[in-house]
Symmetry: C2
Subunit: 404 residues, 2 copies
C-alpha cells in the first residue's frame, strides 16, 4: 500500500479543479482591473454569463467581492460592477535579516495594515525565533483589533530571508546566514503560529511585492534586481515567481564577473550594500545606518558617489545579462537602501548597454526604479500566501488527493 510511486506523471484534474481555477481567474481579473461587471468578466474569461453569475454570487456570499453602484454606459441595462473586498483575506509577511526582523499584515489587495520590527541577535536562530514569534503574535493581536474576523481569514505566513537555501557548505560566506540555514525554521514557525508557512529569498519577495502593487503589476515577465546587503534577482516568468530546480534561481550576486578573472570576483563583492558599507567603513549593525546612508546620498558624499559609479558599471552589466537571458518586459531595480541612494544608482546605470531589449515597439522602460520602502520585502513575503490562495496557477488546477 505504498503511496510512493516511482511512476512520474502530472496530476489529472476534475470539476473541482475547474471550479477552483475559475474562481481564481475572477479574483485575478478583479485585482488587475479594479472593478468589473459580470458581463465584463464573462467576456474577459471566456466563460458564459451564467457561469460568471454563479461564481460571483458565491464569491459575494463568501465575502470576497461586493457590488458597487450600477453604471449606465450607453444602451442596454446598466451594469453592476464588482470589486474585491480587502478584508476578504489577510496574510502575514516576515522578513528575517541579519540584524533585524520585520513583519507586516496585509489584506487581499496588498494594503499594509500593521507593521512591527525587532532586533535579532546575530547567529542565534534559537533566540531569534522566540523574538520572531513574539513579533508575529503582536501583529496578529493588532490585526484582530482592526478586523474582528481577521483571525479566520489569515491565509498564511510568508517568510523572506537571504538565500541561497540548502547549500551545506559554501565557505563562511558573510553574505549568507549559516547558523539560520541549519535551524529548522519553517517547522518551528509552523508549530508556533499554526499557520501555513512559505519561504522565499528576499529578492523573490521584492519581485512578488512589485507584481502585486508595484511596477510589475499585471506583467507576465519581469525581473526584479534587488540590491541589498547581498544582490539577487526575483524572477517573474510566465506570470509566476520562478524558483528553479532547488529554489535558488536568481542568485545573480554569485555570478562571476568575468570568465578570465582569476580572483573569482562576483557581482555581490562589488555592487552590494555590504561592499558599500565596507568601502565607507560603516558598521552594518549600526542603529541609525539607514538614515546615515540617506544623508550621505542626499549630500552626494564623494566616497559614496565613487562607490555608486563603480557599482553601477557592474549593475549595468547585470541588467544586460538579465535581458539577454530572460527577455523580460522590464527590469526593476529595488533596494533595501534609502530611495536617494537607489535613485543615484539607477541614474548612474544609464545609458544601458545594447541588448536584445533594444527592440522596436517597447512601451516599458528597460530599467525602472521599484519600491524602495524597506518594508517591501515583508510585504512581498506576505503577498506570496495571498497569491498562492487566489491567483490562477497551473498547480491549483491539479488534483491533490487520491480519488479512489
Amino acid at each position: 500500500m505504498s503511496d510512493i510511486s516511482p511512476i512520474r506523471a502530472t496530476s489529472g484534474t476534475n470539476q473541482e479543479g475547474t471550479s477552483a481555477h475559475n474562481r481564481r481567474v475572477m479574483m485575478d481579473a478583479l485585482r488587475l482591473n479594479g472593478a468589473l461587471s459580470r458581463a465584463d468578466l464573462a467576456r474577459a474569461t471566456q466563460l458564459t454569463k451564467q457561469a460568471v453569475s454563479n461564481i460571483i454570487e458565491e464569491l459575494e456570499r463568501d465575502g470576497f467581492v461586493v457590488s458597487l453602484d450600477a453604471v449606465r454606459k450607453g444602451r442596454g441595462q446598466p451594469s453592476t460592477p464588482y470589486r474585491l473586498v480587502p478584508e476578504g483575506a489577510f496574510a502575514i509577511g516576515l522578513q528575517i535579516d541579519r540584524h533585524l526582523t520585520r513583519a507586516v499584515a496585509v489584506d487581499l489587495v496588498g494594503t499594509v495594515l500593521v507593521r512591527a520590527e525587532a532586533k535579532l541577535p546575530p547567529d542565534d536562530p534559537h533566540g531569534g525565533v522566540k523574538i520572531i514569534l513574539g513579533v508575529v503574535e503582536s501583529i496578529r493581536r493588532d490585526l484582530a483589533a482592526i478586523s474582528a474576523l481577521s483571525e479566520k481569514r489569515i491565509v498564511g505566513l510568508g517568510v523572506a530571508m537571504p538565500g541561497p537555501f540548502g547549500l551545506e557548505e559554501f565557505g563562511d560566506n558573510k553574505w549568507m546566514m549559516p547558523a539560520w540555514q541549519k535551524y529548522p525554521l519553517l517547522e518551528t514557525l509552523a508549530a508556533g503560529t499554526g499557520l501555513d508557512i512559505s519561504l522565499q529569498n528576499d529578492s523573490a519577495a521584492c519581485a512578488i511585492a512589485e507584481r502585486m502593487v508595484g511596477a510589475a503589476h499585471g506583467l507576465d515577465h519581469a525581473v526584479c534586481l534587488y540590491v541589498g546587503y547581498g544582490i539577487g534577482a526575483g524572477l517573474i516568468l510566465n506570470g509566476e515567481l520562478y524558483r528553479g530546480g532547488s529554489g535558488n534561481a536568481g542568485e545573480i550576486g554569485m555570478a562571476l564577473l568575468s570568465p578570465r578573472g582569476s580572483d573569482g570576483a562576483v557581482l555581490e563583492h562589488r555592487a552590494s550594500l555590504a561592499s558599500l558599507y565596507q568601502q565607507l567603513e560603516l558598521d552594518p549593525s549600526e542603529t541609525g545606518l539607514y538614515d546615515h546612508v540617506a544623508a550621505l546620498a542626499l549630500a552626494e558624499d564623494p566616497a559614496l558617489v565613487a562607490w555608486v559609479r563603480d557599482a553601477a558599471m557592474d549593475l549595468r552589466w547585470s541588467v544586460q545579462l538579465i535581458e539577454t537571458l530572460f527577455d523580460p518586459e522590464t527590469v526593476i531595480l529595488t533596494s533595501g537602501a534609502p530611495e536617494a541612494l537607489a535613485r543615484l544608482i539607477v541614474e548612474a546605470m544609464l545609458p544601458l548597454p545594447l541588448s536584445i531589449a533594444n527592440r522596436p515597439g517597447r512601451t516599458l522602460p528597460r530599467l525602472q526604479l521599484g519600491i524602495t520602502d524597506p518594508w517591501s520585502i515583508a510585504l512581498g513575503a506576505a503577498a506570496e500566501p495571498i497569491g498562492r490562495a487566489f491567483d490562477p496557477r497551473y498547480s491549483a488546477i491539479l488534483k491533490t488527493r487520491s480519488g479512489g
Copy 2:
C-alpha cells in the same frame, strides 16, 4: 461588438479543458514511463480507475495507445499495460540555417522516420523558401510511403532558425540572418504547406529535442547550452520551453563577458563555431566543413585545441552564470559541431567553477554532453508541435472560444 477588450484576465476553463488536460496527462505519463496499466495511471494521475478506463478506451479507439500482453506481478488480477502508438501522430521539423536547410519527419515518440536536406542561397529568402517548400514536400511524400494515414496525422510543422527575432536593426551582425528576419516566412510556409507552423530559435529546438529523447527527458528544469555558428541557451523551466516576453530568452551568446571590458566583447565572439572558423581560417560555407573539423578534432590539431582551451574558459563561465540564474537540475552542452569536438570542449570545461549547483544530494552531473547529431535541431523543431498537441500545459486547459 469589438472583440478586443482592454480588460486583462486569464481565461477560465470548463469540462472540455479538464478532459483535454487529462488526456494529455495520460499521454505524457506513457511517454515518460514507457508502458503503464490503467491502475498505474490512476495512481500516478490521481484520477479514479474509472476515469482512466474511459480515457484509455477513447485513446485506444483513436489510435494513440495499444495494450500489451497482461503481466502477472503477485496477487490480484494481472494488469494490462498500455503504450503509445508511434504512428499516432507525426510532425515535420525544419532547420533553416545560413547555408542549408534540413527537414525531418518524426513520429509520436520522437523517432526520425525521414530526413532531407538542401543548400540554401545566402540572403535570399524568396528563393530559399521555394527550396524549403520542395524539401518539405519530399518529406511528406516519403512519409506517406511509410505510413498511409500519416497525412491525416501530421500535427504541425516546427521551424528552427537562428535568433533573435523581431529586432529591427542590430547592426549587420554576421551571427544573425537579416534578410530572413524581414521576410514573412511563417505566413509563406503556412500558405505553402497548409500546416500549423511554430517557430523557435535553434537553441530552443535543441532543448526540446533533449527533453523529448535526450538527457533532459523527464526533467522539469534543464538548460541546453548550444554551441553552433552562434551560441544560445534553450531553457526548459517548469517542464516547458521558456520563451521570454518577446520570444528571445536564452540569447546568451550576446552576454557581455565583463562589466569593465571596453570592447563590448560577448560570448559569441569567442566561443562560437564562427569564432573557431575565423581562427582556423575556414570557410563556413565549405561543403566538407563538418568532416574537416571532425578530422581536426580527432587528430587534436594544435590550433583547434588552442581555440578549445580558450573557448572553454568562457563556456565554463557561462555555465556558472546559467546555474546561478536558472538553478537547473543539469546543464546540457549541445553543438552543431562533430561529436569529437564537442567532447573536447566539455572535457576542457571541467572542473566547473563553484556555483549554487554545488549542493549536497545531487544525482545529475552539473554538465553533460547532449545529442551531437547535426539533425537534432530539426528533430527539436519537429518535437515542438508534438509537445504542443500532447503534453500537459497550462494553456491547454484554458478556454479559447467564446461561450456565449
